[in-house]
Symmetry: none
Subunit: 220 residues, 4 copies
DNA sequence: AATGAATGAGTATTCATTCAT
DNA sequence: CATGAATGAATACTCATTCAT
């Protein structure tokens, strides 16, 4: 292990020229592939450089350390996710609460379907694990959800809104996250979204929702 | 990279004298402390030995390899948890469904309150992480929950029972697990249990449950 | 590795009582078995003690270090060999030269048949290998052979007797030694002895010996 | 204990620059020196690196493991030997049998004079010792010798040709091998070759050869 | 005397990182 | 800019040996 200089601002130098940008891309690709295939254990800078067909010297030209490589990978994955989410069409004026919830869940599902394997390995990666990215990711998510809830405050029976947000985000995140590896088909078919939606709506509104198993369009 | 495929039955030799039993204890203590403080990254056999104030040779006298040390830690933690769970008094004859659910959740809460920090780090530990213990732990849990659900099948509206078990166990596990580090007081006060209970009962029975915020006895 | 105190006089203390003598025996037996089965690589003091069902403490009571254990093993094996050799009946008065040679070769064959596996492993054992035992063994052998040759000087055509002794002893030793692992049946049947005898007699006397393949009694 | 089952094709990466080729050389030199001086016992990768004045990392950059280092040493030594042997001028048409034998022996002598000390230690090295190189070396030798014998079958009186090959190769190997450390001058002067030649020719042809001690040109 | 717990220097090997070319 | 040779602290684990009980 080396002296750990902990996370300089990710990129040592903005690659100005095309070639440089291409190199960075090639490195990140290799990194992602190695991470997905072999997990964090297999993720060594030398291996990444080799797989990228680039000298480690070059790797370190663009990434000051291993962590920054991982960091950039996360940054990009987050962006990919978020852009996927933003792309969702805005809702109708004043839609039924259930639709709002369902839409939110679908966001999360979509996020996990962007690159599920990379997603999983990134979220389990030790040094940053939750800490860096998922934390902020979760925070941002919580903020949005809270805003959404406040906008519909009157329909929600739970007294402690923060607590509700907490329970809801954690529960959904976990179910979807696990399902992404364990029940991918249910995730894609929308069956799982149905279930979770019903669960949350019931919890939040205090009203029962009928168990209708209409044919649902798959997500992603 | 790991060529790991060992995992002998944990202890290399049963310590026969008092002295050696103490040594084993001291080592496990140090191991747990290091794991909690520095995560799996910091968990090296030499460091453990040093922290335990024991020679590395002594460590290997009792633990054939690093994994077995982790394994014993898990084994003991599991026992601690299970004994805590078994201790729960049996329920009344045919209790309200909500009570059954609440009791189950309380089990899980209790499990996470045994040694929350160790629990967290153990469950995030890569090589065995899920694989060995939490996997079986989760399976056992799922089996129990399913049995409980089947016993009350008539009260449950969800059609796919397996799916319900999946959603419920993942959701509860995650909420409680996260809360153990992020919202410990809510976990201890029972507030969180209330919320989750209401969420699950609504989901499973299809009926709303009143939001009563009666004073709840703390758990643990 | 420890500071190497190199070869105290083999036994730390002459075992006075029966129990002690038995312990020593048990240890040496275990040592020999381990050596034969696993080679020098497997030969560790702890393993020997365990196999002997004796504490290492006890082992070190009788053997000051690993080397001395090996040394005693060699000493005993040498004695076993030599006693086997002494047991050979003295020759007739003035036998044919070929008979003398054959008898000598048979001695060596016999030596290698005493405990061939132990013999092999001992003679290949690194730290002492030749150095300690085989050296002196070879020297003693050479001395005898030389004496025998001098007694029959007139029949020998080789001018440099020392050189003849050298060539002969090395050649015989090697052929027999190798045959003990590679051609054991030829060694036991006496076929090999025939060949080597003819070779040596021809070399030493300068006269051809007929190739008679009479049925030879097996040795050992 | 060894779980060895590796032995990749020796070099981890072909050194591309001059500098690295030099490093490889320096490492192998150091390895050879250590092996010669201290035997296999002293042969540790760290020691080799230190003696080579190279970091342990550099050693492992070129040699995937200890064995491969030894392997490369053997490979090179074998090449050195074989090239020495190939260099021998082809024989006249149908030379006297004695000349054929003598030439063969001289080959072996030459082989042992290439780097006698290294040769000795390599051939005694445990894990590969015989097993890998000397085995094949010996086999190749045996095959050649057998071919030569068959070409001259009519002149050979020994019935079992395989046995003759066995006896002859073992005997010569051993005498020469030992002489390389114990009687180097005799080996170099050719005196020993004379003796062994006479011994073998007598043995094989069943005819005596005169003891002529003409001045012999030294070998090597 | 016997036990077995304890020791710690030593072993092979990895990997993040630097730097001369 | 790129290369890849070089580094060395750190890792998991072994084993000869000592010594308190």
């Amino acid at each position: 292990m080396a002296k750990r200089r902990k996370m300089q601002p990710i990129l040592r130098k903005r690659p100005e020229q095309d070639r440089s940008r291409a190199t960075v891309e090639v490195i990140l690709d290799a990194a992602a592939r190695i991470l997905v295939r072999g997990g964090y254990e297999a993720f060594t800078t030398n291996r990444v450089a080799e797989k990228a067909d680039v000298s480690i010297g070059s790797l370190y030209q663009y990434f000051p350390n291993k962590e920054s490589l991982l960091g950039e990978l996360m940054r990009r994955h987050t962006i990919a996710i978020e852009s996927g989410i933003e792309a969702v069409a805005p809702q109708a004026q004043d839609p039924p609460f259930a639709d709002v919830v369902r839409a939110a869940i679908e966001h999360i599902v979509r996020a996990h379907l962007v690159d599920p394997e990379l997603h999983r390995v990134l979220s389990e990666t030790p040094p940053l694990g939750k800490l860096d990215w998922e934390a902020t990711f979760a925070e941002r998510l919580a903020a949005r959800v809270k805003a959404a809830f406040e906008a519909r405050r009157s329909e929600i029976v739970v007294r402690d809104l923060d607590l509700a947000v907490y329970v809801v985000t954690r529960a959904v995140e976990a179910v979807v996250h696990n399902a992404a590896t364990e029940r991918l088909s249910d995730l894609k078919s929308g069956v799982l979204t149905d279930e979770v939606t019903r669960m949350l709506v019931g919890y939040l509104t205090g009203k029962a929702t009928p168990v209708k198993r209409a044919v649902r369009a798959a997500v992603g």
